[in-house]
Symmetry: C2
Subunit: 398 residues, 2 copies
């Protein structure tokens, strides 16, 4: 049984803050500064160029990838870390297209995170020759998986409402018509059990700065099914994916039979130091426990808000089986109300047009946090504190 | 006049080490750990999600880009930082192709760093439709710039020999036939004065972990000429390049008129903290002084080796006008000899087939370092220490 008091004690959350935004940017593990100092002083400073060998920097995309792999049900040797999630989406969709060369349709939905759609739009523009992105509503995805579709690319959990796709059903449908699927696990990895092997996932990508707590802009990851690794095009074919990077050949040859081919350029080793410390928190954590606890906390949150916060209504499905690990509520004055909550140290965020969004992350969020959030929200509503001018100024970045 | 004693004092180089590998991985500035601790404790830990606004994270690709821009002769608002150099090469070449849509030839040379060639090979494969990469010898580049070439992509300084292209002449020739040029400044930025404005550069890309000292895998940068910014395709079109990233539209619209469109995904803010500290070292440094000092040191090195180290011969041009800021020597037992040098704390590196490579970086390298390196090399040659078995074992990553 996962000890959530112990995991909470591993995070350095500011005194008095109720942090319900771990679905956007996870808080800092207490071990992060020391891990970083160790990297700076014992690795970069002391080893300098030798660190690529002596400190294992060169293979960290793989060693850290394997640690993330364990959290998403991936076999060792199928996941690597580096770059940004946008880049990894481009790479995975491009690689997917290369597997189905006779088809030119990429299917996605309006619940996908926008950058996933943007990257595919750029890919389509680059490829020209009739390639298209077809975007449907999330509830229409199953019907839209037809035999002209090459690649289906979806984010499993809607970043706004928390609505979760039926991964298994979508993969089965896609495979039955000869399409491959790219899953964005940004709101899945570290949020609940994912089983990329068991559900026969083709490609999965994700980030590490949300539920995995690797810090702002932490590196992304990519998973490729073992059955595809030896045939897949890397698309973004950098020297880190070469069969012999240090032979400095002029021709690219993808690393045969290994996930290494999905590596691209020289990755930030400092960002890996933070990721490594963040993954240490997951040792001894059972994601089934995390999910059970998250469902309990989300149910409590939804019920309390429903009972005590008039005008605030749940966004997305009430059924927990169809929800990821955040809860959003529609409210007419959602933006200002969220600013008022933040002012009182209850941290969530806002998503247009009217949603207050709260991440439920049991590693460091408990019942008292939920009750604090609801108490605060109830008071803001009762006093109409959201009407204060200062809460109605939009910041440049929200 | 730049105070090189002062800049040397800003680096934390291990006692007794002669570090002549700053062209591969720069040493750690003494200010780096404190800058990183400040980021971790005062920014990530304390501000959490608010840091994107309150600590300026969201605009750091631009603010840091402008600081690098100053070192390469770029106007403010023309350079952004993020991703890896491999990614930036792909983006710049892809963007270049979009400017000359009627042509399908990309020209490069065998002196380009391999990952630049690999990324272009991946791009060509993705685009199909007759696109090709044409690769010639470095000395044949000028003649190969013909009116069927869309994009010329070159690394200014050869990573092996230090041979430097005539940037101005190549750009003039390319522009005269209607081609655009992408320059990789990996071995130029921070090594000597570069004038992207004055030489009418179209695109430039580079890394920050070599002469700029931002640590292993520090972020890359991209420069786009102001005259192109509003028309250029971002190619890798992520949400950071969108006109309104936080509107979460489903369609990509590149940021109009601003370099921001070349931003892609969420960048590593930790890597930015290190870059920022590393750029502080450059305040008050005149790159003309750096170049004059580097020429003096390289000349000394070459002359001393020529006089005292039989069998060791200069690679690349003797004329300083045709050389970047590293010196390589051919030697039959180059690999083992470099291992013997490293064993005696003189740090350079080896490049196949037989080159010992030494970076000349005046911010922290002086005459005594050069003399130490030559004295050590002379002794290793005299005693044939390179024949020891332990120096003849190849490591996985060299």
């Amino acid at each position: 049984m996962t000890d959530f008091a112990a995991t909470r004690a591993m995070f350095d959350i500011p005194e008095g803050m109720t942090y319900l935004n771990g679905n956007s940017l996870g808080p800092m593990p207490k071990a992060s500064p020391e891990a970083m100092m160790s990297f700076l002083n014992e690795e970069w400073r002391s080893e300098l160029i030798k660190g690529w060998n002596t400190k294992g920097w060169f293979m960290q995309p793989n060693t850290l990838g394997d640690r993330i792999g364990k959290l998403i049900g991936a076999e060792a040797g199928t996941t690597v870390v580096s770059d940004t999630l946008s880049i990894k989406v481009f790479q995975a969709v491009g690689a997917g297209l290369s597997l189905v060369p006779e088809r030119k349709v990429i299917l996605s939905d309006t619940g996908n995170f926008p950058t996933d759609l943007y990257m595919v739009q750029g890919l389509v523009k680059l490829k020209q020759d009739g390639y298209t992105l077809r975007t449907v509503e999330p509830e229409s995805v199953m019907d839209a998986i037809t035999d002209d579709v090459a690649v289906v690319t979806l984010t499993e959990v809607d970043y706004r409402t928390g609505r979760k796709h039926d991964m298994k059903a979508i993969i089965e449908k896609a495979h039955s018509v000869g399409a491959v699927v790219v899953w964005d696990l940004a709101h899945s990895a570290g949020a609940f059990p994912v089983d990329v092997s068991g559900t026969d996932v083709d490609f999965a990508v994700g980030c590490t700065y949300k539920f995995l707590n690797a810090g702002p802009g932490g590196p992304a990851f990519i998973y490729v099914a073992p059955r595809l690794i030896d045939v897949v095009e890397p698309v973004l074919s950098g020297w880190y994916g070469h069969e012999a990077p240090f032979a400095f050949d002029t021709d690219y040859r993808p690393m045969p039979g290994k996930i290494d081919r999905m590596r691209i350029g020289t990755p930030s080793i400092a960002s890996f130091a933070l990721l490594s410390a963040a993954l240490d928190v997951w040792e001894g954590v059972d994601l089934a426990d995390v999910r059970a606890r998250a469902e309990e906390l989300m149910t409590l949150f939804i019920n309390e808000v429903s009972a005590r916060c008039p005008g605030v209504t749940l966004a997305g499905p009430a059924n927990m089986d169809e929800r990821g690990s955040h809860v959003s509520f529609h409210f007419e004055h959602g933006y200002a109300c969220m600013q008022a909550l933040i002012d009182r140290k209850v941290i969530g965020d806002f998503r247009a047009p009217d949603m207050m969004r709260f991440g439920i992350t049991p590693l460091f969020v408990g019942k008292s946090d939920i009750m604090k959030a609801v108490d605060t929200l109830e008071d803001i509503l009762r006093t109409e504190a959201y009407k204060e001018d200062r809460f109605n100024v939009r910041s440049a970045v929200t």
